[in-house]
Symmetry: C2
Subunit: 463 residues, 2 copies
């Protein structure tokens, strides 16, 4: 049986479902293929369940602050481990309902199964052969795990972790990127004995050296961080011995939060004859998402780039426009870069990264939130903001921070970059009292001093 | 004794101290006059102590949510009333240190006492007569209280409330503006029996009718709100009987949070011969702050306008520039309007108010945060956002909201207005997943539908 369609969308996650939304504006002649389980990576094992875990952890952690506020008996608070995990799974099911309904509505235009290429225009799903003019590959990725570790029962990735009935007594977290930092801190705060390993001598996803230093100081005061060496995992009675060299730790479970691997590698892409990297990923234009001159577009996690959920959605849109739109293949604008790690304090970055700066042309300003009044009132006075500006144009170019509420500040500052604002103009935004945004203003004042000229504090624009 | 100076600054609060900072860039020939106590209104009885009260109240209120998170024994948490008030006073002293030090540094250029006008150029402070070329009047305001009520021990304003050793068992809050709404909710959550009175049938400082409706629904589910009638207060054994008509409530204390009255009215301004309103406030240009062509400038609360702390600072700067700067009297830009009430959910407003809109030229979009995923994870899924845009230019013009984290959203949206952003452009800001800013984006999508044309959701700008 051969089924002919204009567009085949492979994958019903964030990128695939957004591509579907765009493609269906232009044509009804498409199919969507997905092997299940339904639900986006974000909802099933990514952003959403980790945020639920973090909410419980941070609220529980606040018991140390409650006596200062005049709230007593906080030491009686107790974590009900099964309840914590149950709520996470309930929310996960709830957040997966949207994708489930989107798939149900497709009826015969949805095919359940794993897709493999037969040629650049043909895809096989079980015994169905699909002939498609355009193919959008949005198959996503899964956490990497070596065959040896995968064979140990009790060594997990985030794909399995949120299925645990209760929290382990002790856990090794291997890999301190964004997900590792979030989960290690949350579990430690929930009473799990956590030891974390990072092979590089550098916490993942943090580029500014000052933020790196502060983050390492801060997080290693909450749980053990071992870094700079490769990690060995050995099974032991009732758990594992994990460590590097002679330094070894006994833990009940192991969570591996290293890299993610594109599901494209299992799709027999080589048969298309199109160009690929040595590791089997198709070579495609990052702006159009097109593979060579073919009808194949790669969107979202499958493309093996650093990918945030809103990027995956944008790529789904771009692939949808370029595969099915009336204007052929085009390049589209991307948003101001933004990255958030939901630790406490939060880590966030926007605009240019530190390693992308030309330091001789850049002024850097900072503010220590240890002295921020509103944060002090709320018991959250900790962390550092670093802001970057171009010395000539005096425009904000980027920044990184480790502070409470960073998720909001990063959005605010990315909005300023989107609008090409100078530091001098930014100090005339309506900083309200008492808000933590006043701490951002302190960093802007400091940045103004670094830039030289009239201090922003004394700058008063005439009508 | 006559002391001659170039500039006399009357008042060492937010407006006065900011004027001092600006004036001292241009001349050393000034005096600052203040009767004490030292510290800004914000630090002593305004923004700061109320935020400390709110922090305790909202953390205590969270005990209802903790079981859902898997945290047990939350019902044992207990409010230690004296500790709550002690922390507030400690923070108040800490936040008053800046002004105290600023005054100490002035040495003989500071005069302790109450200033009265003797003429448009002469001020008397006790037996000191000051002849000043320019006078900056930044004397602030104090809460209004009728003579009868002021005579009752136990009827207070915010000037006295934060001096209480412990929380009362019951309290009537008279006046539901920003301060009244904040304190009534916080005290109710801290276990005080609260009944609140609002003479108008309208909660203060809320202009959008939908936000008004939601706010009244929400807050009246937490404490009793009586509105639409004038209030009588009678003393009774152990407290007061408060109410309107036959509906009366017995309470231990009464907090009056009505209007504020400028301290200017006690300065014998009439002697200057300059123009005044019927209520004795000088008539001055709101953009230059100058009274007629005189050398007198009115900054901050003293001017009897709606005044936020950052406005008071800006007016101090403007008065400083116009009184002592090299360029004479000029008009200066003001910031995008912004107002925040720190209730839970927070109330915030930015840009044009609902009553300032030309409704036939305005599109309104909204989003119900009851369905916002991140807010749901955090147990804060409640409230409404309303955004306004001009139908022709498609630019955001203002909005009002009752949602968690509104203090950040209002700043973000004010930044968009500052930059003249259209709704179509705003949807291409980097909305991160999962953040509550995605709820703002829902309101923007809805606003896009109201505006008509290509839906922002489907808008994809080419490079």
């Amino acid at each position: 049986m051969i089924r002919r369609v204009k567009v085949a969308i492979i994958g019903a996650g964030t990128a695939g479902l957004t591509a579907l939304k765009t493609v269906s504006r232009f044509t009804d002649d498409f199919v969507v293929i997905d092997p299940g389980p339904d639900g986006t990576t974000s909802a099933r094992s990514g952003c959403m369940p980790s945020k639920a875990l973090i909410t419980a952890a941070h609220e529980y952690h606040k018991r140390h602050f409650l006596p200062e506020l005049g709230i007593s008996h906080a030491h009686n608070l107790h974590i009900e481990s099964r309840e914590v995990m149950k709520r996470i799974r309930q929310l996960r099911e709830r957040f997966s309902q949207g994708p489930v309904r989107a798939i149900e509505k497709l009826e015969e235009r949805f095919i359940r199964g794993r897709a493999c290429f037969e040629s650049a225009e043909q895809i096989r799903v079980g015994d169905i052969l699909i002939q498609a003019e355009k193919v959008i590959v949005a198959v996503g990725s899964s956490p990497e795990l070596s065959a040896e570790w995968a064979s140990f029962s009790g060594v997990m990735t985030t794909d399995q972790f949120f299925d645990l009935e209760k929290l382990p007594a002790s856990l090794a977290v291997i890999g301190l990127g964004s997900a590792g930092l979030e989960i290690a801190q949350a579990l430690s705060r929930l009473g799990v004995q956590v030891v974390a390993f990072e092979q590089e001598d550098w916490l993942g996803g943090i580029y500014d050296p000052d933020i790196q230093y502060w983050a390492r100081e801060y997080f290693s005061s909450e749980y053990m961080i071992c870094s700079g060496q490769s990690v060995r995992v050995d099974t032991e009675a009732g758990g594992f011995s994990v460590g590097s060299g002679k330094e070894r730790y006994r833990v009940e479970k192991v969570l591996v939060t290293g890299g993610r691997r594109t599901a494209l590698s299992a799709m027999n892409f080589a048969v298309t004859g199109l160009p690929m990297t040595a590791s089997g990923v198709p070579i495609f234009d990052p702006e159009t998402l097109q593979v060579g001159d073919s009808g194949i577009f790669i969107a979202g996690d499958a493309g093996q780039k650093e990918m945030k959920m809103h990027h995956a959605a944008d790529e789904g849109r771009i692939a949808g426009f370029n595969a099915a739109g009336p204007d052929g293949v085009k390049r589209y604008q991307r948003r101001v870069p933004l990255s958030i790690t939901f630790t406490d304090p939060q880590i966030a970055r926007f605009g240019l990264r530190y390693d992308q700066l030309n330091l001789s042309e850049t002024a850097i300003g900072s503010a220590d939130f240890g002295f921020q009044n509103r944060a002090l009132i709320m018991g959250e006075h900790r962390g550092l903001v670093r802001l970057y500006a171009d010395r000539v144009s005096r425009k904000l170019t980027g920044g990184e921070m480790l502070v409470p509420r960073a998720e909001h500040f990063a959005f605010e500052l990315a909005t300023c970059i989107h609008n090409g604002m100078t530091v001098d103009e930014m100090v005339w935004l309506p900083f309200y009292h008492p808000t933590m945004e006043e701490g951002l203003r302190s960093a802007l004042y400091n940045l103004g001093e670094e830039l030289g000229g009239v201090l922003p504090e004394h700058f008063l624009p005439e009508i």
